[in-house]
Structures are given as C-alpha cells and as structure tokens.
C-alpha cells in the first residue's frame, strides 16, 4: 500500500500542469520538506505512518499547492506571448501583404514553421511550441480533406486508404502527446484549425467551382481584410492565453474568441458553407473544445476526491 507521502506527491504531480523539469524539481523539493518534517516528528517519538500523515497535513492540500505553483509559472512574459502568437501574425502578414500567392514566401514560412515545431518538440515541448505545431499539422489535415474531393478511381482509393489512416495516426499521436503535457495546450494547438476550416469552407472548398483556380482566388481576394482580422484576433487570444495567470480565465480567453471567430467567419459569408460545411466546422470546434472539457472533468474529479478526503 502506498504511504501518505507518495499519495500526496502523486496527487500534487497530477494536479500540476507545467513543464516536467519544473514539476519534478518542485515535487522533489516537497518530498525533502516532508522527509525533514517526518524525521523531526519521528525523533519526538511519533510512529513513521503517523509522522508522514501529519507532515502531509501540515503542508496543506496538494491540489492547492499545485494551483499556487501553477499560477507562478502560468504567466509567460511578453516575449514568450509574442513568439507563441507569431505564427498567427505571420499568416495575417502573408495575406495583408498579398504574398500568399508567392510560392517562395509561403515555402519559407512553411519550412520555418516545420523547423520551429520540430525544434520545440525535441526541446521538452515548451508552451510557445503549440500554435506552431497546429500549423505544422495543418497541411496534413488539409491534404486529407482535399483528397476526398479529388476525382475518384483506383489510384485515389489506394492513396486515400494509405494516407488517411496514416494522417489520423500522426494527428492522434501528436494530440495525445500534447495532452499528456497539458490538455489546455492541445486546444491552443488546435485553435487555428477551426478558423482555417471555416475560411476554406467559406471560400467554397468542396463545391464544383473549387477546382477552378480563378474563381477561388477572386473569391479569396475579396475576403482578405476579414482573413487578416480573424488571424490577428487569434493572435490576440493567444497572447492573452499566455499572459493570463489563472487557469480558468486562460480557458475562457482561448475558447470564446476562437469559437466566435470561426462562427463569425461562417456568418460573414452568409452561412454559405452549406450543411456539410457546418457539420465539418462543428466537428472542428468539438475537437477544439474537447481537451478543455476533459480537463474540467478531471478538475471536478479532483474536487470531489478532495472533498471526500477532507471529510474522512
């Protein structure tokens, strides 16, 4: 059976959603504190079990300590906030400067995004990584969707059968790895996806005119100011996410603007995305909100557990 010190530290670690290096260090520090307190009590003649129990009680509820440590590290500085929002700014800049048609510029930005995402992934998944990772995943998702609309035949069937499961496996793997770090970061990563989908759908992806390049580009040109505004709004939501201390407000600061932007894009286009478009957009939004929902379920579980522990 686990003793009260292990239970305390496990509960502390489970409640604390910060970089694993910092988490390990704080948990180790709490362990040494509990060790010292317990040792002092044992020297006064208290049994080991009782000493451990008293030491953990004196330290206070692990969830509360975790929440206070979280608030210390949750707020990033302005530099980090701007770097986290940078991919959204780059997309806005790309459209504002009309360089989105320039293959060279788009390729440079794509390569930089891939490079930064891979670098961050192998450097302990810092917080700034996740929006970059979202854009890194985007070509994988968009290719899968475009594949559905391509003329179908044997070649298509083979490509779809290989590509779609592979792409899904990659996406699920990255989302799971991100969620292991913190569910909230999965939503931060997925935030650009509903916005981009609502734009793609509004621009007619999936209808019979979509493959006519001129029609698509002409449609896009008229929407550029709105596209720029939507990505600037996404950047603002990302900055507020990084700068806000409290977890609850972080969730609100990320969810509400992203949902509002995605729905506004569809509405600005007079809801012309069609029923399948709405369904697809809804699915994106559900995927975006789910990590937060799971997180809040986890919190409720902890609250209930804590309440029942304290009444014992």
């Amino acid at each position: 059976m686990k003793n009260s010190v292990s239970r305390y530290l496990n509960s502390f670690r489970a409640s604390l959603k910060i970089d694993s290096d910092i988490k390990d260090s704080v948990a180790q520090e709490l362990y040494t504190h509990l060790e010292d307190r317990s040792q002092e009590l044992k020297e006064k003649g208290v049994s080991k079990e009782e000493a451990d129990k008293i030491a953990t009680q004196v330290l206070g509820p692990p969830e509360l300590v975790a929440q206070q440590v979280y608030e210390t590290y949750a707020q990033g500085n302005w530099q980090e906030a701007l770097f986290t929002a940078l991919p959204h700014f780059l997309v806005a800049l790309l459209f504002a400067s009309y360089y989105w048609q320039n293959v060279f510029c788009v390729s440079i930005i794509l390569m930089a995004t891939v490079g930064i995402a891979i670098y961050g992934w192998h450097k302990g998944k810092p917080r700034w990584l996740f929006p970059w990772l979202g854009y890194y995943l985007l070509p994988v998702i968009v290719t899968g969707i475009l594949l559905i609309y391509l003329p179908q035949g044997w070649g298509w069937a083979v490509a779809a059968l290989i590509y779609i499961p592979l792409a899904l496996a990659v996406i699920i793997y990255i989302v799971m790895q991100t969620a292991r770090r913190d569910w909230l970061y999965a939503s931060l990563m997925l935030a650009p996806i509903p916005v981009i989908f609502s734009w793609l759908l509004s621009l007619g992806v999936g209808n019979e005119f979509f493959l006519l390049e001129n029609v698509w580009i002409a449609e896009l040109q008229t929407k550029i100011p709105w596209i720029v505004i939507s990505f600037l709004a996404l950047a603002a939501a990302t900055i507020s996410f990084i700068r806000i201390k409290r977890r609850r407000y972080k969730i609100i600061g990320l969810l509400i603007p992203t949902i509002a932007i995605s729905i506004s894009v569809a509405l600005v286009n007079r809801g012309g995305i069609g029923p399948w478009g709405w369904l697809l957009l809804l699915s994106c939004l559900v995927a975006f909100v789910t990590p937060n929902w799971i997180q809040s379920k986890g919190y409720k579980y902890l609250e209930i557990k804590f309440a029942s522990d304290s009444t014992r």
């Binding site: 504190h33 509360l64 210390t72």
Partner: protein, 111 residues
C-alpha cells in the same frame, strides 16, 4: 478577515528575502527559522512557502540550487541575487518608514 494573516501575506516576500539574504537556506529551514526568530509568532502555512519561493526565483530575486548535505541528502538551497538585495533594501527602507509612521500615530508618547 484575519488581520495578522493578511499582514504576514503582504510581507512574506520581504521576510523570505531577509532570511535568504542572511545565509543561503532551503524550504524547511526557512519555516523553522521563521518560527524560531519570531518566537512562534509566524506560523507559516508550509504549502504556501514553495509557491512564494518559486515566485521570487521567477522574478530573479533569488536563485535555487540543489546541493548535497553531509549526510548525502539533497536540498534545494536558495541564494539571494543582486536584484534581490536591491529589492530587499528598498522594501526594508519602505517598511521602516511605514512602521515609524504607524508607531508615531498609535504610540505618540514613545517618540
């Protein structure tokens, strides 16, 4: 509202900086030292100590380093930084002015 607790809360950072400035120390030792020096007046909520220490470290006022004790156990010692010493000097000056002003009002005969 517990007035004593609110006062302690408002001055926790200064107390911690003061102790760490006297000599590098670790969490448990800080709790014991606070209790000893205040003759048991400061009963620190132990769980709140570490968030406070990490907040000071994040603000570059102190620096934590893992060190081995002679008995082989590891403890995270906190050292004050130059920025921390400057912040402490500023806070102490403000505190002394403040407490002198309060004393002058509540105990005018003692001046």
């Amino acid at each position: 509202m517990n007035y004593g607790r609110e006062l302690l809360k408002g001055n926790t950072d200064s107390l911690l900086l003061c102790l760490i400035n006297a000599r590098p120390t670790y969490g448990y030792q800080i709790v014991k030292e606070l209790e000893k020096r205040s003759d048991g007046y400061f009963q620190f909520k132990e769980g709140t100590l570490y968030p406070a220490l990490h907040r000071l470290e994040k603000d570059n006022l102190i620096k934590g380093k893992w060190q081995m004790l002679p008995n082989g156990q590891q403890r995270r010692y906190y050292y004050i930084t130059k920025k921390g010493q400057q912040a402490l000097a500023k806070r102490l000056a403000i505190w002394q002015d403040f407490s002198a002003a309060v004393r002058a009002i509540i105990q005018p005969e003692s001046i």
